[in-house]
């Protein structure tokens, strides 16, 4: 009887351990985003999870190990699929803006850590930024190539990305953690779509 019960206990401990790990990662994500990686102490993270430092070190060897675990979180690959249409219409552009804003809002804390670490010269963060840019380019290119030749499409993809970086970072600077909800607000999305449509949409508007 005793023997048979043992694995069950083990499983239970394992499950509780996984949950604690997730809790630590969640707290670290918010704290790193708010205060920066350097300024956040292991003690602050432990406090936020109701753990002692020693208990936290049982799960992660160091603060750096927590950051590395955050980098590996699967969330960064989640881009909503937008089907490629025969032409880049206002509708397609609007769906691409929605996809971009959804990812940025969902990953607000993650992006804020990544940007601050890249600014501090962390080579992993710099590589991840470049990687994310390359992924966005691949994601956007077929939509623009539906309406433009290869070179023109590449420039328009670049314009879309630089516009959204300027916009997203400005709003993250002003709103910090609250950007996560701002980015999904319907009025905000309409504003971004209007700007994107004016510089990248089909040009059939009346001249001045």
């Amino acid at each position: 009887m005793m023997r048979a019960a043992a694995p069950q206990d083990g499983e239970c401990v394992q499950r509780r351990g996984d949950e604690t790990r997730r809790r630590i990662l969640g707290a670290a994500l918010d704290l790193f985003a708010r205060d920066g990686f350097e300024a956040t102490t292991v003690r602050t993270i432990a406090d936020a999870c109701g753990l002692t430092d020693a208990a936290l070190y049982y799960y992660f060897r160091s603060k750096r190990a927590i950051l590395n675990a955050l980098w590996q979180a699967p969330q960064i690959n989640a881009l909503d699929a937008v089907p490629v249409r025969p032409a880049l219409t206002e509708q397609v552009l609007s769906e691409l803006v929605d996809a971009m804003l959804a990812v940025n809002a969902r990953q607000n804390a993650f992006i804020r850590i990544l940007v601050q670490q890249a600014l501090a010269g962390d080579p992993i963060a710099v590589a991840m930024h470049k990687d994310a840019m390359a992924r966005w380019r691949r994601y956007l290119t077929p939509h623009f190539e539906a309406s433009f030749d290869r070179d023109d499409a590449a420039l328009r993809v670049d314009l879309f990305m630089m516009l959204t970086i300027g916009l997203t970072f400005s709003d993250q600077m002003d709103h910090g953690a609250a950007y996560a909800s701002l980015g999904l607000h319907p009025a905000y999305r309409e504003r971004v779509k209007a700007i994107a449509n004016i510089v990248l949409g089909p040009r059939d508007r009346a001249p001045a």
Partner: protein
């Protein structure tokens, strides 16, 4: 006479020291961040003592604020009453872009502080954007009609996007990248798409 001359000398030396402190602080803030820079580090780079720095600036924050005040707001060319050509507007955007790109350390320093949510730095950013918008919107409206201000806003955001992306991608190398001809050429190409020819 001799006393006045000596006082002038002292003042000149003092203001030179002040300029050196500002230049060194800007470089250190850009490379190591505001929080990662101490007054001691600024002093030791200049072979000065901490009190020598405090003689000119009450605190590290005062050095930063002084730099912030000197950052490039209000350099945009004021509007005249002619309807500008599209090429003229693109040229104006390029001179704004180039004026920005010529101060790489300032841009990196500001980006770091703004992204951390420093209120004074973000206030400065909003003021700069507002001045940019207010100065150039009449020109854009004359050429593009009611979509003019939105085109201008987009072009302003693209300028920030290009600079911020390059700072993230190149870090310390940003100062060299802005000197490369392709950096401005690419900005011009993006402005040309964002600012299309107006049908006759």
């Amino acid at each position: 006479m001799a006393q006045a001359a000596r006082r002038n000398d002292v003042e000149r030396t003092g203001s030179m020291t002040k300029q050196k402190i500002l230049a060194t602080a800007q470089e250190l803030f850009a490379n190591n961040g505001y929080n990662g820079t101490t007054v001691k580090a600024i002093a030791s780079r200049l072979d000065l003592t901490d009190p020598a720095i405090y003689y000119h600036f009450r605190s590290k924050r005062h050095i930063f604020d002084s730099l912030l005040q000197s950052s490039g707001a209000g350099q945009f060319v004021a509007a005249d009453n002619e309807v500008p050509s599209r090429e003229d507007l693109i040229d104006r955007m390029m001179s704004t872009f180039n004026a920005y790109a010529r101060q790489p350390d300032m841009l990196r320093m500001l980006f770091r502080q703004q992204y951390r949510g420093d209120p004074a730095s973000n206030q400065r950013r909003r003021e700069t954007m507002a001045t940019f918008q207010a100065t150039l919107a009449p020109l854009f409206t004359r050429l593009y009609g009611e979509t003019g201000p939105a085109i201008l806003e987009a072009v302003g955001l693209v300028t920030l996007g290009i600079i911020w992306d390059a700072i993230l991608s190149y870090g310390h190398g940003f100062a060299q990248v802005v000197e490369q001809p392709w950096f401005a050429q690419r900005a011009r190409k993006l402005f040309e798409i964002a600012m299309p020819p107006v049908p006759a």
